[in-house]
Symmetry: C2
Amino acid sequence: MLVRISTNEMKENLEDIIQSIYLLPQQVLEDVLGHFQYLEYPKNYFLLKSGKPCKHLWFMITGAVRYFYTNDQGKEMNTWFSLDEQILTDTTSFVKQEPAQESIQLLEESEMYSIEYAALQALLQKHHPFALWYIKLVESHYVSQIEDRIADLQFLDAKERYQKILSKYPNITNRVSLGNIASYLNITQETLSRIRAGKL
Amino acid sequence: MLVRISTNEMKENLEDIIQSIYLLPQQVLEDVLGHFQYLEYPKNYFLLKSGKPCKHLWFMITGAVRYFYTNDQGKEMNTWFSLDEQILTDTTSFVKQEPAQESIQLLEESEMYSIEYAALQALLQKHHPFALWYIKLVESHYVSQIEDRIADLQFLDAKERYQKILSKYPNITNRVSLGNIASYLNITQETLSRIRAGKL
DNA sequence: GAATGCTTTTGACGTAGAACAAAAAGGGAT
DNA sequence: ATCCCTTTTTGTTCTACGTCAAAAGCATTC
């Protein structure tokens, strides 16, 4: 499923998000916006399958996705959730254009804008302000989120990590199954069920 | 301790490292090199203390450092080691210029080049190619390393993580104490000692 | 509303690694 | 060599969480 909407309607949402990262001159902004596409995808759709290079950077407007690895025993292990207004990509695969080790799957029907790797690279070369914009994006999106996550994994136990994701996404339990959350927390669903029941 | 060496001597090492990230036009390169400083610090020196904003990006030439948090109980917990030719900074603190949550301490006498945050920002605004250079730096240094680390923490047990750091830094056991490595692996030194002895 | 298939909960038991304690093994200095 | 101080190893006990198994809850569909 893929729906295009009018350029005007599209611009409003996306423009705000882009300008909130780093203000671009009007002329650069126009050029940039022209390279984004509006898309709607159904529940369970794969934005990215492991083994393929990640060719897009997505700006999700509404929806929910999970990132996951498949381990040697074939078990899927969630590494991340993003709900609603978030920037999505497999950073490692995207920046190197190498096969991704993880997959990105929708947990709900979702709407988003996307830009292709090649278009992004061309814009970086063409517009100095866009390069500065992208630096801000990488710094704020990739880096800060990810470093937080390391500290969590290293210092918090299962219960604390559960509380933390609940405070980040208070309604996550209504949108993501217990099994998926347990996988993200790297505990079994039985253990998460007991944490939830207050037995741990 | 702080030693300045001649501009010529300095340039050679640093220039290679910089150009290996992304090739800069000669004129931009000169401007950039002029903003780096050569430094030597003694063992146990703190490049960064938690609570202070991280004002520098360091290019270590030789030496060894640990990154660590201090938890609520006052226990120091290592999050990372860098040995020899590595780029060092507390990314989160550096990009936001906010107080750092972690500290960076030398484990050996070390030599490095550094550039200040303000100088870096000015160069990014001034030179489009330097902005492209910095994007490469962030993508390769910050992002790839960090994402690997998450996968390790999430999917590998203590023994596997130990083997992995050994394969990254084969001689790490000669340069970093067992206690420091155990803290990085998030296990006790007793457990690491047993892993080393093959009893686990 | 019975049947079918997911998701979540509960129970019993096993285990990796923590915590605590104490012994052993290395270095330097004198 | 001897003393002192740090680092590493060994032994014992304890606990959070995993594993396996089964039951309960909740939707869909016929």
